[in-house]
């Protein structure tokens, strides 16, 4: 059973017919203002249709562009990263792995022979080591880092490296930075 409001709306919109319309119009005889009200509501509808329309969508092509850009960005972010090589690559890589391993072993042996000949003499395992000259012990380096250049991208800031051999220390002197606020220290 439809409510009065539902039937009234249908009557305004001309959606009642046949027996339903007849019955409702009989009911409306108790409401003498009904016809005037209907005229009113039809004028209201006409007003809304005439003046209620939205302005044109501006920058329509950019509207599409922005949607597609966002879709692609989201899909890119969600795409899984490729971590597993394809089987054909794995097969191709295998000889390189073995070659690299062999080179590392050879390099390791060479380094061992050059770096610790004294240990080898002590162990007596290598008799021709005695013929090679005893390497001079390397002097202790004054410092481990060498500053090649020091410069700032900000033209107002200058950077000067200062090295003291006596103290074995290098200082980077930076001029032009903003002072820290006094309150910073307290915090």
């Amino acid at each position: 059973m439809k409510t009065f409001e539902e039937r009234y709306t249908a009557w305004i919109d001309g959606k009642l017919d046949g027996a339903e319309l007849e019955a409702f119009e009989k009911e409306l005889e108790e409401h003498p203002d009904a016809l005037a009200d209907r005229e009113d509501l039809l004028k209201l509808g006409s007003l809304l249709r005439t003046y209620g329309h939205a302005p044109e969508l501006s920058n329509a092509e950019f509207f599409n562009h922005q949607i597609l850009t966002q879709i692609r960005e989201e899909e890119k972010a969600e795409a899984p990263k490729e971590t597993v090589p394809t089987p054909i690559f794995a097969w191709l890589l295998r000889p390189f792995v073995w070659a690299t391993a062999a080179m590392l072993i050879i390099a390791g042996v060479s380094v061992y022979r050059v770096v610790s000949p004294q240990q080898q003499v002590k162990s007596g395992l290598d008799r021709y080591v005695d013929l090679s000259p005893t390497p001079e012990p390397e002097p202790e380096k004054p410092y481990n880092v060498q500053i090649v250049s020091a410069e700032s991208t900000d033209p107002d800031i200058s950077v000067t490296p200062i090295h003291s051999e006596k103290d074995n220390v290098t200082v980077l002197w930076v001029d032009g930075l903003d002072y820290l606020p006094a309150s910073y220290h307290g915090e």
């Binding site: 409001e5 539902e6 003498p32 007003l47 003046y51 922005q66 879709i71």
Partner: protein, 204 residues
């Protein structure tokens, strides 16, 4: 009924279905085509709800993005546009509710109905202004102001029925309620607008 569109905007159903299927396969160009076809109507519908161009633009974007994300769930039980309309309507109503909560705004749902019985035939005339000729700009401003005083639910049905020209069933599908609820909301929404705009349409 959903408003008639131009030939370019109103494709044959098969064509639209093909585009939807392509979208479901991940074809963004097909979705671009659907956006082009429906962007104006989507924007207009949202504008009529929020009465602000920038907000309508942003919400239409959100609506299309949501449609893309959920297009895999579209089963073709209704037309694509009806389905899209529902998404757009949900996006818009959610936004209006959030804004209402954040801004502490309150819709005066009882506006104009304090003295109106559900069965009353005419609206009270105490808010009418003296007869004067209004400019188009003033008329639009009055309509904007009146619609903005309606609740989201009343605003949705009045916009879809009076401005978009949709049928009750289409409105029910778009809003997600029964036809009876649509008709009932229309009754009250019209009564409120009648109260607020009577002097406008009587002086045209």
């Amino acid at each position: 009924m959903i408003p008639e569109a131009t030939e370019a905007e109103n494709p044959a159903p098969e064509d639209e279905l093909q585009l939807v299927e392509k979208c479901q396969a991940g074809d963004t160009e097909a979705f671009n085509e659907l956006v082009t076809r429906y962007r104006n109507r989507a924007y207009a519908m949202i504008y009529n709800m929020v009465r602000n161009e920038q907000d309508a633009w942003d919400l239409a974007q959100d609506g299309f993005l949501k449609a893309w994300k959920s297009i895999g769930r579209f089963r073709g039980q209704s037309s694509f546009f009806t389905w899209l309309y529902r998404i757009l309507m949900n996006v818009t109503i959610d936004w209006m509710r959030r804004r209402q909560i954040e801004g502490g705004m309150e819709f005066d749902d009882s506006l104009g109905l304090r003295n109106v019985e559900p069965g009353a035939m005419t609206a009270p005339k105490d808010e009418m202004q003296p007869a004067e000729k209004l400019s188009d700009k003033e008329i639009r401003a009055r309509i904007d102001a009146a619609i903005s005083k309606l609740s989201e639910e009343h605003r949705a049905v009045i916009v879809l029925r009076e401005i978009e020209g949709m049928e009750y069933q289409e409105i029910a599908d778009a809003v997600g309620c029964t036809i009876g609820t649509v008709m009932s909301r229309l009754f009250y929404a019209r009564k409120k607008l009648q109260t607020m705009l009577k002097d406008v349409y009587e002086n045209l």
